[in-house]
């Protein structure tokens, strides 16, 4: 059974460089959290602070009711009961699969150790490979052994550092689902670090989006996609366009496309705004009077991402069904339906 994780305003510094600035995140026991952001955003530094390899210069980190990190305290990694799955899996090359899994079980007697190893081999479906050496395994198999090894000592928290990045793209999606299920079965609290938003949205209960050392937003995947609080989150998660719109004194959008103005409805009056428009907000509808000129088409099989040009020169994108055959220059009839209205003040930052 996992424990809760509380990170409160934690900062990580390397000399003069601040890698993480006052990051906060709370996970309840059994929840899967994710640190998501582009490379260099500080997510790996924060992960190393949780695991105890990195000291923090401000704030606190607590596991369950126990303080494990503060500027004055750094509990050694081996005393934290925090398991970790590494990007390169880091399997011990001189030990077989079962002895890799048994590595963290020194405290148990031989019998219990054997039982635990067998249970985990079963859990990750690697029973037939118990005596194989790591170099004999495929990437996906190594990944599963790494997971089993980290889960074996039943850690309070499990950390996964870009666990799928060294695997084939085709393998990733399937494994992400498998691993999520395994984590849920084991009821462990997990923190996943990734730069792949798809992975984050698929696996996590709670996602912390990080940028440039700051946590921009902590929310559920659904909320992140539909209610991004900052421009960075809006741009980083999913596709979409930030459309510049000015409003009149009554709060109506000043745009030549009436369809758009009515979809946007009531907005703050007399402002310069940016409105987030997702491709799935713009729907192909043959009955619509609103026709927009296609500027480019990105055909993806089941659907196409079509860029449409507005009369004022801005472009928006539309998720068209794959069988709709269009080419640049064509006037596509569309309907706009905005279920989650996200606007930013063009002059400042977030609304």
């Amino acid at each position: 059974m996992g424990k809760s994780l509380r990170i409160d305003k934690a900062s990580v510094c390397y000399g003069d460089v601040t890698a993480v600035q006052g990051a906060s995140l709370r996970l309840e026991a059994g929840e899967i959290g994710c640190l998501l952001g582009p490379s260099g955003c500080g997510k790996t530094s924060l992960l190393r602070a949780i695991s105890g390899f990195q000291s923090i210069s401000e704030g606190t980190i607590e596991v369950g009711e126990t303080l494990v990190s503060s500027p004055a305290l750094q509990v050694a990694p081996e005393q934290r009961r925090i398991g970790m799955v590494f990007q390169d899996f880091a399997l011990f090359p001189h030990l077989s699969v079962s002895r890799n899994i048994a590595f963290g079980l020194q405290a148990l007697n031989a019998n219990d150790r054997q039982t635990t190893v067998e249970r985990l081999l079963e859990l990750v479906s690697m029973r037939d490979w118990a005596s194989a050496m790591p170099h004999e395994l495929s990437g996906g198999q190594q990944q599963r052994v790494a997971l089993a090894r980290a889960l074996a000592p039943s850690p309070d928290i499990l950390l996964l550092d870009e666990p799928f990045s060294s695997l084939d793209t085709s393998l990733r999606e399937q494994l992400a689902l498998e691993v999520t299920q395994l984590l849920k079965e084991s009821n462990v609290t997990a923190v996943l670090v990734t730069h792949d938003q798809q992975e984050a949205l698929t696996m996590a209960d709670t996602v912390a989006v990080m940028n440039d050392g700051n946590v921009e937003q902590v929310a559920s995947p659904y909320e992140l996609y539909h209610q991004p609080r900052t421009r960075f989150v809006a741009g980083f998660i999913g596709q979409g366009t930030l459309l510049r719109v000015s409003t009149d004194s009554t709060g109506g959008a000043k745009t030549p496309v009436t369809e758009l103005a009515s979809a946007l409805g009531q907005l703050p009056s007399s402002r310069e705004l940016e409105v987030l428009l997702r491709p799935d907000d713009v729907i192909v509808d043959a009955t619509s009077n609103c026709k927009l000129v296609v500027s480019s088409v990105d055909f993806r099989g089941a659907h196409s991402l079509v860029s449409l040009q507005l009369p004022d020169g801005q472009t928006i994108s539309c998720n068209a069904p794959g069988h709709v055959q269009v080419s640049p220059g064509y006037a596509l009839p569309v309907r706009v339906e905005i279920k989650h209205k996200v606007t930013f003040d063009a002059a400042e930052g977030a609304k």
Binding site: L73, P77, D88, H94
Partner: protein, 560 residues
């Protein structure tokens, strides 16, 4: 063993485990270790600040110019000799295909097993007036003494030839890699622009390989300056002979140290040259390698013959001669004393190998756990001894130990009215310390390269699974590093067994090793009796060469 224990203790108390983030004991430990190992070198350098004695002035007026000139000529000669032999052998074996090539690739390394002083004794026995070669000439042509010209082997020229024959493999090894890494298209471009194969060598291949060649020659020259056995036996007045005479003959330790400091300036230049050349060496792993040109007819015979000649002269002839002497005269050398020699040499070499391994683990692991500029500099400085001649280190060890002994003795006289005599000087401890200074880098390199292949995430993985740093060393690193650690032990073992000058100066009274006994017997002109211990040294010296050959064979297999 105590060292390894301290290491484990240091590791098991992790600074982060309680409250102290921040202060770590590693930098302190590494700096202290490095300072200890640097002590002899620092003392030699510091001797320049001492007043120069009358002996110094006397030496300055008489022999120092001689030492400088002779050492310079020796370096020039050996530099040219090793460059020609090493580059030639490397080029022929990488650029051409001819019968026997693959065997010659490794056979050309055999002379590394032959210490210069031993090849010098052997050739003296072979080529002296009473030796088999001149005797045969006289018998065949009916000449008598003075009727013919024969080059004198015991001369500067002879020393250059001997040193070149056993030191060229340094150049060969580095040049060979450089030539192999060169891309085929570059050479083909030169050919398509109208250059002959010879011009391609001089204008394209050689300039590109120059950093590697310079690095190899620098290493060979460091060994040349460190050599004592050869120049001493040939009566050549090089620096090491001068230092030995000043200390042994005149008892002038300070002047010997000052002479050593002068020699270190030469070494310093070589270190800088070697380091900068190495930094300029480039490796292009991914490019298409040049194919070897097939030689046939007289060209292939000439090529093969020349290389066989090098191997014959550098290893096979002297080894055979030693073997014959040893077989014919083994009764003269084989006695209880010989077994004692073997025991002395082996135990000394084993102790040193273990000490060096312990120190290497401490330094390499400390640097891994606590990476930083101070730690890195300390480790690099600790390994500097490899470039310093054994003779110089011996003098540098002798001075502080003599000082300490005198102090302790004086105190004992003052307090207890007894004399303690010499406690440390002339003990095995002094000798092992000097060896550790000289050979630490050999084992450190092996440990470091092994450790660098262990991914840092393995350390982290072990830690998250509840293992402390000490447990990680025991359960993860040591098993993975087993091969590297064994290599480290072996290389130091062999180096100690071959070492002559430091042993000669620092050995306890009446304590003999194989190398020293060989030197003594040869100095007494009992060359045939010296053959057995010399042969033992050569055979043991073959072990690291075989390791090297196996590593190269694996590389060849990969490159096809």
């Amino acid at each position: 063993m105590a060292l390894i224990q301290t290491l484990f203790q240091a590791l098991s108390t992790n600074p982060g485990s309680t409250a102290g983030v921040g202060f770590s004991r590693w930098p302190v430990m590494l700096v202290i270790t490095a300072a200890l190992l640097m002590l002899p070198i620092i003392i030699i350098a510091a001797s320049l600040a001492l007043p120069f004695s009358d002996t110094w002035r006397h030496l300055l007026d008489t022999v120092i110019v001689d030492y400088l000139g002779t050492s310079a000529l020796l370096m020039l000669g050996v530099g040219a000799g090793t460059a020609v032999l090493g580059v030639g052998a490397a080029w022929l074996t990488t650029a051409y295909q001819f019968p026997g090539r693959s065997a010659l690739v490794w056979a050309l390394l055999l002379p590394m097993a032959m210490p210069a002083y031993i090849i010098a004794y052997t050739y003296t026995g072979l080529l002296d007036f009473s030796g088999p070669v001149q005797s045969a000439l006289r018998d065949n042509f009916g000449w008598g003494y003075g009727d013919y010209y024969f080059p004198q082997i015991r001369s500067l020229g002879g020393a250059i030839a001997m040193l070149s024959l056993v030191l060229y493999p340094y150049v060969y090894l580095l040049a060979r890699v450089a030539f192999m890494e060169q891309s085929a298209s570059m050479r083909e471009a030169a050919r398509s622009l109208g250059r002959s194969p010879t011009q391609v060598f001089f204008r394209v291949a050689l300039p590109q390989a120059r950093p590697a060649i310079v690095a190899g020659v620098s290493l060979a020259l460091m060994e040349t300056l460190a050599d004592f056995g050869t120049v001493d036996y040939f009566g050549v007045s090089a620096f090491t002979t001068g230092i030995f005479r000043t200390w042994y003959g005149m008892g002038e330790l300070t002047t010997a140290a000052q002479l050593s400091a002068l020699l270190m300036l030469f070494i310093l230049v070589l270190i800088v040259v070697e380091r900068t050349s190495r930094a300029r060496m480039r490796y292009h792993q991914s490019q298409r390698r040049a194919q070897r040109t097939q030689l046939s007819g007289w060209r292939s015979a000439l090529c093969c013959g020349a290389l066989v000649l090098i191997v014959l002269a550098g290893f096979l002839v002297p080894a055979m001669q030693l073997l014959m002497w040893a077989i014919n005269h083994w009764r003269g050398a084989w006695d209880d004393q010989f077994l004692q020699l073997v025991w002395n040499s082996f135990s000394l070499a084993s102790i040193t190998a273990v000490v060096c391994l312990g120190l290497s683990l401490l330094l390499a692991y400390g640097q891994r756990l606590s990476p930083g500029l101070i730690e890195r500099s300390a480790v690099r400085l600790a390994a500097l001894g490899y470039a310093v001649p054994g003779m110089v280190i011996a003098v540098g060890v002798l001075i502080p130990l003599a000082w300490l002994d005198n102090r302790v003795d004086a105190l004992a006289r003052e307090w207890f009215d007894t004399s303690t005599g010499l406690l440390l000087s002339g003990t095995l401890l002094a000798l092992v310390f000097a060896y550790a200074v000289r050979f630490l880098s050999v084992s450190l390199q092996s440990v470091e390269s092994g450790l660098s292949r262990v991914k840092p995430t393995l350390d982290d993985a072990a830690r998250t699974l509840g293992a402390s740093a000490g447990t990680t060393l025991r359960r993860v690193h040591l098993p993975i590093l087993r091969g590297s650690l064994l290599t480290a032990l072996l290389l130091v073992f062999v180096d100690v067994l071959k070492e002559l000058p430091a042993t000669l100066i620092l050995r306890p009274f009446n304590f003999n090793t194989l190398a020293v006994r060989t030197y003594e017997l040869a100095s007494d002109e009992r060359l045939t009796d010296a053959a057995l211990p010399a042969l033992a040294i050569v055979i043991i010296g073959l072990i690291p060469v075989i390791l090297l050959i196996r590593a190269i064979a694996e590389g060849e297999k990969q490159h096809g």
